[in-house]
Protein backbone atom coordinates (compact mmCIF):
# COMPACT_ATOMS: atom_id res chain seq x y z
CA UNK A 1 0.00 0.00 0.00
CA UNK A 2 2.82 2.35 0.98
CA UNK A 3 4.76 1.35 -2.13
CA UNK A 4 1.77 2.15 -4.24
CA UNK A 5 1.53 5.58 -2.63
CA UNK A 6 5.21 6.31 -3.13
CA UNK A 7 4.88 5.28 -6.75
CA UNK A 8 1.94 7.62 -7.21
CA UNK A 9 3.81 10.52 -5.58
CA UNK A 10 6.85 9.79 -7.75
CA UNK A 11 4.68 9.98 -10.90
CA UNK A 12 3.21 13.28 -9.77
CA UNK A 13 6.69 14.68 -9.05
CA UNK A 14 7.84 13.61 -12.48
CA UNK A 15 4.85 15.43 -13.97
CA UNK A 16 5.63 18.49 -11.83
CA UNK A 17 9.27 18.44 -12.97
CA UNK A 18 8.09 18.28 -16.59
CA UNK A 19 5.92 21.36 -16.03
CA UNK A 20 8.92 23.26 -14.57
CA UNK A 21 11.27 22.00 -17.25
CA UNK A 22 8.81 23.12 -19.91
CA UNK A 23 8.62 26.57 -18.27
CA UNK A 24 12.42 26.82 -18.14
CA UNK A 25 12.59 25.94 -21.83
CA UNK A 26 9.95 28.56 -22.61
CA UNK A 27 11.83 31.13 -20.48
CA UNK A 28 15.01 30.47 -22.41
CA UNK A 29 13.12 30.98 -25.65
CA UNK A 30 11.66 34.26 -24.35
CA UNK A 31 15.13 35.57 -23.47
CA UNK A 32 16.66 34.38 -26.75
CA UNK A 33 13.81 36.01 -28.65
CA UNK A 34 14.34 39.21 -26.67
CA UNK A 35 18.07 39.19 -27.52
CA UNK A 36 17.22 38.81 -31.23
CA UNK A 37 14.70 41.65 -31.01
CA UNK A 38 17.24 43.80 -29.13
CA UNK A 39 19.73 43.25 -31.93
CA UNK A 40 17.13 44.29 -34.50
CA UNK A 41 16.18 47.40 -32.48
CA UNK A 42 19.85 48.32 -32.15
CA UNK A 43 20.42 47.87 -35.88
CA UNK A 44 17.39 50.03 -36.70
CA UNK A 45 18.37 52.80 -34.27
CA UNK A 46 21.93 52.84 -35.63
CA UNK A 47 20.77 52.74 -39.22
CA UNK A 48 18.38 55.66 -38.55
CA UNK A 49 21.23 57.51 -36.84
CA UNK A 50 23.49 56.99 -39.86
CA UNK A 51 20.76 58.37 -42.13
CA UNK A 52 20.19 61.36 -39.85
CA UNK A 53 23.94 61.97 -39.52
CA UNK A 54 24.32 61.88 -43.30
CA UNK A 55 21.47 64.37 -43.65
CA UNK A 56 23.08 66.68 -41.07
CA UNK A 57 26.44 66.36 -42.91
CA UNK A 58 24.84 67.21 -46.24
CA UNK A 59 22.81 70.12 -44.80
CA UNK A 60 25.84 71.69 -43.08
CA UNK A 61 28.04 71.31 -46.15
CA UNK A 62 25.32 72.57 -48.48
CA UNK A 63 24.95 75.70 -46.30
CA UNK A 64 28.72 76.16 -46.32
CA UNK A 65 28.85 75.79 -50.12
CA UNK A 66 26.08 78.38 -50.50
CA UNK A 67 27.92 80.76 -48.18
CA UNK A 68 31.23 80.13 -49.99
CA UNK A 69 29.56 80.80 -53.34
CA UNK A 70 28.11 84.00 -51.91
CA UNK A 71 31.57 85.12 -50.74
CA UNK A 72 32.99 84.56 -54.24
CA UNK A 73 30.02 86.30 -55.91
CA UNK A 74 30.40 89.26 -53.54
CA UNK A 75 34.11 89.52 -54.25
CA UNK A 76 33.48 89.37 -58.01
CA UNK A 77 31.15 92.36 -57.60
CA UNK A 78 33.72 94.14 -55.43
CA UNK A 79 36.39 93.49 -58.07
CA UNK A 80 34.19 94.97 -60.79
CA UNK A 81 33.74 98.12 -58.66
CA UNK A 82 37.47 98.12 -57.93
CA UNK A 83 38.24 97.98 -61.68
CA UNK A 84 35.85 100.83 -62.47
CA UNK A 85 37.25 103.03 -59.67
CA UNK A 86 40.89 102.15 -60.46
CA UNK A 87 40.50 102.93 -64.17
CA UNK A 88 39.25 106.38 -63.21
CA UNK A 89 42.72 106.93 -61.71
CA UNK A 90 44.64 105.48 -64.68
CA UNK A 91 45.57 108.85 -66.18
CA UNK A 92 47.11 109.96 -62.89
CA UNK A 93 48.97 106.66 -62.47
CA UNK A 94 50.32 106.75 -66.05
CA UNK A 95 51.44 110.36 -65.58
CA UNK A 96 53.21 109.40 -62.35
CA UNK A 97 55.08 106.57 -64.13
CA UNK A 98 56.02 108.74 -67.12
CA UNK A 99 57.14 111.66 -64.94
CA UNK A 100 59.24 109.36 -62.77
CA UNK A 101 60.81 107.48 -65.70
CA UNK A 102 61.52 110.54 -67.84
CA UNK A 103 62.53 112.70 -64.87
CA UNK A 104 60.37 115.52 -66.21
Amino acid sequence: MADKLLELISDVETKANEIISEAEKKAEEIINQAKKEAEKIKEKILKDAEIEAEKIWKDILARAEVEAKKIIEEVEKDIEKLRVEARKQFDGAIKLIIDTVTGV
Binding site: L5, L8, I9, V12, K15, A16, I19, I20, E22, A23, K26, A27, I30, I31, Q33, A34, K35, E37, A38, E39, I41, K42, I45, L46, D48, A49, E50, E52, A53, E54, I56, W57, I60, L61, R63, A64, E65, A68, I71, I72, E74, V75, E76, D78, I79, L82, R83, E85, A86, F90, A93, I94, L96, I97, I98, T100, V101, T102, G103, V104
Partner: protein
Protein backbone atom coordinates in the same frame (compact mmCIF):
# COMPACT_ATOMS: atom_id res chain seq x y z
CA UNK B 1 -7.25 7.22 0.71
CA UNK B 2 -7.66 8.10 -2.98
CA UNK B 3 -9.00 11.51 -1.97
CA UNK B 4 -5.83 12.19 0.05
CA UNK B 5 -3.61 11.10 -2.81
CA UNK B 6 -5.59 13.35 -5.14
CA UNK B 7 -5.03 16.32 -2.84
CA UNK B 8 -1.27 15.63 -2.58
CA UNK B 9 -1.15 15.39 -6.39
CA UNK B 10 -3.03 18.69 -6.69
CA UNK B 11 -0.67 20.41 -4.26
CA UNK B 12 2.47 19.18 -6.01
CA UNK B 13 1.15 20.12 -9.49
CA UNK B 14 -0.06 23.52 -8.30
CA UNK B 15 3.33 24.22 -6.74
CA UNK B 16 5.00 23.18 -9.98
CA UNK B 17 2.64 25.41 -12.00
CA UNK B 18 3.32 28.31 -9.66
CA UNK B 19 7.07 27.79 -9.98
CA UNK B 20 6.72 27.55 -13.77
CA UNK B 21 4.69 30.76 -13.79
CA UNK B 22 7.44 32.50 -11.78
CA UNK B 23 10.09 31.26 -14.18
CA UNK B 24 8.12 32.72 -17.12
CA UNK B 25 7.47 36.01 -15.30
CA UNK B 26 11.18 36.34 -14.47
CA UNK B 27 12.09 35.50 -18.07
CA UNK B 28 9.72 38.18 -19.34
CA UNK B 29 11.23 40.69 -16.91
CA UNK B 30 14.73 39.68 -18.07
CA UNK B 31 13.63 40.01 -21.71
CA UNK B 32 12.28 43.47 -20.97
CA UNK B 33 15.61 44.44 -19.40
CA UNK B 34 17.55 43.07 -22.39
CA UNK B 35 15.41 45.12 -24.76
CA UNK B 36 15.62 48.26 -22.62
CA UNK B 37 19.40 48.02 -22.23
CA UNK B 38 19.90 47.40 -25.95
CA UNK B 39 17.70 50.38 -26.83
CA UNK B 40 19.49 52.61 -24.34
CA UNK B 41 22.94 51.55 -25.64
CA UNK B 42 21.88 51.96 -29.25
CA UNK B 43 20.47 55.43 -28.58
CA UNK B 44 23.71 56.49 -26.88
CA UNK B 45 25.73 55.09 -29.80
CA UNK B 46 23.39 56.84 -32.24
CA UNK B 47 23.89 60.17 -30.46
CA UNK B 48 27.65 59.68 -30.71
CA UNK B 49 27.39 58.92 -34.45
CA UNK B 50 25.28 62.03 -35.06
CA UNK B 51 27.43 64.21 -32.84
CA UNK B 52 30.69 63.07 -34.50
CA UNK B 53 29.27 63.54 -37.98
CA UNK B 54 28.03 67.02 -37.04
CA UNK B 55 31.44 67.97 -35.63
CA UNK B 56 33.18 66.63 -38.76
CA UNK B 57 30.74 68.48 -41.02
CA UNK B 58 31.24 71.74 -39.12
CA UNK B 59 35.02 71.37 -39.45
CA UNK B 60 34.64 70.66 -43.17
CA UNK B 61 32.29 73.68 -43.49
CA UNK B 62 34.90 75.88 -41.80
CA UNK B 63 37.49 74.60 -44.30
CA UNK B 64 35.16 75.38 -47.22
CA UNK B 65 34.59 78.92 -45.93
CA UNK B 66 38.29 79.48 -45.21
CA UNK B 67 39.13 78.36 -48.73
CA UNK B 68 36.45 80.65 -50.17
CA UNK B 69 37.77 83.60 -48.16
CA UNK B 70 41.32 82.82 -49.27
CA UNK B 71 40.17 82.50 -52.88
CA UNK B 72 38.37 85.84 -52.53
CA UNK B 73 41.51 87.52 -51.17
CA UNK B 74 43.59 86.04 -54.02
CA UNK B 75 41.05 87.22 -56.58
CA UNK B 76 41.29 90.78 -55.24
CA UNK B 77 45.10 90.62 -55.19
CA UNK B 78 45.17 89.24 -58.76
CA UNK B 79 42.73 91.91 -59.93
CA UNK B 80 44.89 94.61 -58.35
CA UNK B 81 48.04 93.14 -59.91
CA UNK B 82 46.33 93.05 -63.31
CA UNK B 83 45.30 96.70 -62.97
CA UNK B 84 48.81 97.74 -61.93
CA UNK B 85 50.29 95.81 -64.90
CA UNK B 86 47.71 97.41 -67.18
CA UNK B 87 48.78 100.86 -65.94
CA UNK B 88 52.45 99.99 -66.58
CA UNK B 89 51.64 98.65 -70.07
CA UNK B 90 49.72 101.81 -70.93
CA UNK B 91 52.54 103.93 -69.49
CA UNK B 92 55.03 102.11 -71.72
CA UNK B 93 52.86 102.89 -74.75
CA UNK B 94 52.69 106.53 -73.67
CA UNK B 95 56.47 106.56 -73.20
CA UNK B 96 56.84 105.57 -76.89
CA UNK B 97 54.66 108.56 -77.79
CA UNK B 98 56.59 110.74 -75.34
CA UNK B 99 59.83 110.22 -77.32
CA UNK B 100 58.13 112.01 -80.22
CA UNK B 101 56.92 114.93 -78.10
CA UNK B 102 58.34 118.41 -77.55
CA UNK B 103 59.13 117.54 -73.89
CA UNK B 104 61.44 114.71 -74.94
CA UNK B 105 64.44 117.02 -75.52
CA UNK B 106 64.30 118.31 -71.93
CA UNK B 107 63.82 114.83 -70.57
CA UNK B 108 66.73 113.44 -72.60
CA UNK B 109 69.04 116.28 -71.45
CA UNK B 110 68.06 115.64 -67.84
CA UNK B 111 68.71 111.92 -68.22
CA UNK B 112 72.13 112.54 -69.81
CA UNK B 113 73.01 114.95 -67.00
CA UNK B 114 71.79 112.53 -64.34
CA UNK B 115 73.84 109.65 -65.82
CA UNK B 116 76.95 111.80 -66.24
CA UNK B 117 76.79 112.96 -62.62
CA UNK B 118 76.46 109.34 -61.45
CA UNK B 119 79.61 108.47 -63.46
CA UNK B 120 81.24 111.58 -61.86
CA UNK B 121 81.92 113.31 -65.20
CA UNK B 122 85.01 112.90 -67.40
CA UNK B 123 85.13 111.95 -71.08
CA UNK B 124 81.75 110.45 -71.77
CA UNK B 125 79.90 108.88 -74.68
CA UNK B 126 76.17 109.31 -75.21
CA UNK B 127 74.35 106.39 -76.83
CA UNK B 128 70.93 107.24 -78.22
CA UNK B 129 68.11 105.06 -79.56
CA UNK B 130 67.78 104.58 -83.32
CA UNK B 131 65.70 107.25 -85.02
CA UNK B 132 66.39 109.85 -82.31
CA UNK B 133 65.96 113.23 -83.88
CA UNK B 134 66.65 115.72 -81.09
CA UNK B 135 69.05 118.64 -81.16
CA UNK B 136 70.91 118.28 -77.83
CA UNK B 137 73.00 121.01 -76.22
CA UNK B 138 75.71 118.67 -74.92
CA UNK B 139 78.22 121.42 -74.07
CA UNK B 140 75.67 123.04 -71.76
CA UNK B 141 75.00 119.68 -70.07
CA UNK B 142 78.76 119.01 -69.74
CA UNK B 143 79.19 122.38 -68.05
CA UNK B 144 76.41 121.62 -65.58
CA UNK B 145 78.00 118.23 -64.83
CA UNK B 146 81.37 119.91 -64.25
CA UNK B 147 79.69 122.32 -61.82
CA UNK B 148 78.19 119.43 -59.89
CA UNK B 149 81.12 117.02 -59.92
CA UNK B 150 84.09 119.40 -60.14
CA UNK B 151 85.49 117.14 -62.89
CA UNK B 152 86.19 118.37 -66.41
CA UNK B 153 83.54 116.74 -68.58
CA UNK B 154 83.03 116.18 -72.27
CA UNK B 155 79.99 114.57 -73.84
CA UNK B 156 79.96 113.13 -77.36
CA UNK B 157 77.22 111.32 -79.25
CA UNK B 158 78.37 107.79 -80.03
CA UNK B 159 77.88 106.36 -83.52
CA UNK B 160 76.65 103.27 -81.81
CA UNK B 161 72.86 103.25 -81.56
CA UNK B 162 70.74 101.37 -79.07
CA UNK B 163 67.37 99.58 -79.34
CA UNK B 164 65.10 101.46 -76.99
CA UNK B 165 61.84 103.40 -76.98
CA UNK B 166 63.59 106.40 -75.44
CA UNK B 167 66.21 107.61 -73.03
CA UNK B 168 69.95 107.26 -73.17
CA UNK B 169 72.99 105.23 -72.16
CA UNK B 170 75.97 107.22 -70.97
CA UNK B 171 79.36 105.57 -70.58
CA UNK B 172 82.92 106.59 -69.88
CA UNK B 173 85.15 106.57 -72.93
CA UNK B 174 87.21 103.73 -71.41
CA UNK B 175 83.88 101.87 -71.11
CA UNK B 176 84.51 101.05 -67.46
CA UNK B 177 81.45 102.93 -66.24
CA UNK B 178 78.01 102.82 -67.83
CA UNK B 179 74.69 104.22 -66.73
CA UNK B 180 71.63 102.90 -68.53
CA UNK B 181 69.03 105.64 -68.47
CA UNK B 182 66.82 104.25 -71.22
CA UNK B 183 63.12 104.34 -70.39
CA UNK B 184 62.96 100.54 -70.20
CA UNK B 185 65.91 100.32 -67.79
CA UNK B 186 64.58 103.13 -65.62
CA UNK B 187 61.11 101.61 -65.60
CA UNK B 188 62.62 98.32 -64.43
CA UNK B 189 64.78 99.99 -61.75
CA UNK B 190 61.94 102.16 -60.49
CA UNK B 191 59.22 99.55 -60.87
CA UNK B 192 59.00 98.46 -57.21
CA UNK B 193 58.93 102.03 -55.92
CA UNK B 194 56.44 103.01 -58.63
CA UNK B 195 54.31 99.93 -57.98
CA UNK B 196 53.61 101.12 -54.44
CA UNK B 197 52.78 104.65 -55.57
CA UNK B 198 50.66 103.46 -58.49
CA UNK B 199 48.78 101.06 -56.17
CA UNK B 200 48.14 103.89 -53.72
CA UNK B 201 46.78 106.00 -56.55
CA UNK B 202 44.62 103.31 -58.12
CA UNK B 203 43.24 101.84 -54.92
CA UNK B 204 42.99 104.86 -52.66
CA UNK B 205 40.01 104.46 -50.34
Amino acid sequence: MSTQVGKIEEIIINEAKEKAENIIVKAREEAKKVLGKAEQEAKREAEEIISKKKTDAEAQARRILSEAKLEARLKILNAKEQLISEAFDKALEKLKEFSQSAQYKTALENLIKDAAIIIRGGDLEVLLPENTNVDLDLSKIAKEVEEQTGVKTSLNISKERIRSIGGVIVRSKDRLLTVDNTFEARLERLREQLRVNVANLLFKT
